[in-house]
Symmetry: C2
Subunit: 339 residues, 2 copies
Amino acid sequence: MTLAPSILAGDRLALARLLSKIENNLKEGLVSLNELFPHTGRAHLVGVTGAPGTGKSSLVNRLAHYYRHPPQGQTAQTVAIIAVDPSSPFTGGAILGDRVRMQDLAGDSGVFIRSMAARGSLGGLAQATASLVQVFDAAGFEIILIETVGAGQAEVDIARLAHTTLVVEAPGLGDEIQAIKAGILEIADILVVNKADRPGVESTERSLKNMLQFGHPTSRSMRLEGNVDCGEDAATLDASTLWTPIILRTVATQGDGVPELASAISSHYQYLHETGKWEDKERARLQNELDGLLKDVLVTRWRATIPRSKYQDALNKLVARRMSPHQAVADLLDGGSSR
Amino acid sequence: MTLAPSILAGDRLALARLLSKIENNLKEGLVSLNELFPHTGRAHLVGVTGAPGTGKSSLVNRLAHYYRHPPQGQTAQTVAIIAVDPSSPFTGGAILGDRVRMQDLAGDSGVFIRSMAARGSLGGLAQATASLVQVFDAAGFEIILIETVGAGQAEVDIARLAHTTLVVEAPGLGDEIQAIKAGILEIADILVVNKADRPGVESTERSLKNMLQFGHPTSRSMRLEGNVDCGEDAATLDASTLWTPIILRTVATQGDGVPELASAISSHYQYLHETGKWEDKERARLQNELDGLLKDVLVTRWRATIPRSKYQDALNKLVARRMSPHQAVADLLDGGSSR
């Protein structure tokens, strides 16, 4: 028997055990994942990204606390937090340890926090995150906050996993950050100016507004890149159903602006459902995962067909500059191998 | 006739044309690359990475200027700069435009600057960078500075392309950056504390020294992850031939510390050659490129074998939660397809 039935029944220990099995790529983890998958599709996935120093972690903690302790008259929601750290490829454990994050939320079975560091390839990290999301989703967590540390392509890729993407900024973090925004901004559903008690908040907010006018794809068509087949994703957006990104100020350390942020996240959730974009996002996300897995399996299978000496021989010729990389690939795939 | 002979003869216009062809994935670009490849292997590849706001671009410009105008008695070297911006997946052009960078170095045929933005997949970006490096190398550029904007996994992957990796820090960029360092630090051959005229430089330098003692793999074995076969790369490092990372202060805007930095880069170059590590790095780098290309070609070939309707059918079942992602992959690869 797998861990899946216990997880579906709300067993948190079984949940933690499965997460470890998945992170360690154990076969048992895969079997449980397959069993849990039909029970997924209900959670609201919220990505939180932005440059270092913007206070993302504090904001995520505050949000989780708000969902657990909403104002009177509102129902508390269960929250899972996945803190992804793609900048740490060599260290085994995540830098922001689980313990540090737990202080505010300790002892509450309606919150589950998991930190992940990159292991091996980037595809591996995005895939591992997708698997963790599925486990939390099947286990009945209503909000899944996916926090990425850093501000690069890896973060964008992981943010694509989410239904709603928050991009966190802070005043006074240097000019280069302004440039980076242009790329990150385009994935933002909600822009949060955190540390809004600091000087320069007006100018940060103003430059975000300006960049939104230039950079946000509300006036053009969008497609998810890199898919095997994106024919059905390339539909042009209808102007009447466009989401205009919301800009909000917060001071996470004080909790200021957090109710407004939770309300904006909820508005985006409603927007996605009312416009049918929830289904579009689900489809794009699952296609992304499917394509990543396909690549991995194809390479693994090919590896099994080729003798190691043949691979080493091609590499040797490459290092000696007797073949170019493209020529070495052609040699390996077509030049007298068993396939 | 391809562009390769003109490029080998020093034609800068032909060089620019080939770079565009490669960036646009034209077949002609590939043919020229294959012709140029035997002429590569001479350039010193220097990666420059670090968090936003550290002043990497100014530092790279200053370094290039120094190599072009060295102190009397030293020979000027030719320099190519590749500015990689992985944080911008949607915009077509790089954010730091070529023009902005050229001001100091305009009109000098011994310098060539190229900005690149991410197009599609991350593998694509690393591969495109590798191709650009090969063109500059074959064209006779002696130093190739590869600057990455951002501080995540993408930057680490691109830094792996280089023989010598500079990690740039700056005082006062927030606490979270301290955490990120732990991952980035381990790839640093030279640590540059730029903006060293700012308050807090001593504390930044001290924390770097502390982290080096903990984090740098001078006391453990290192291997390049994610390769098809890393048997020959996994050799344990010999303590007598270890490189101890150098920490240097610079003020790029004033040029302070730039001669010392150039000297440290030169020392690392000598170290690599004297210890035989140059060859190890070349081998690991080319293997990395080979593996990336192999994956791409395997997926492209597989796509051609499968009817579009079959792929869409699997995706539909996935979205309906009737199959998990792993089950969909098994279905596509084994379940009644032509393979």
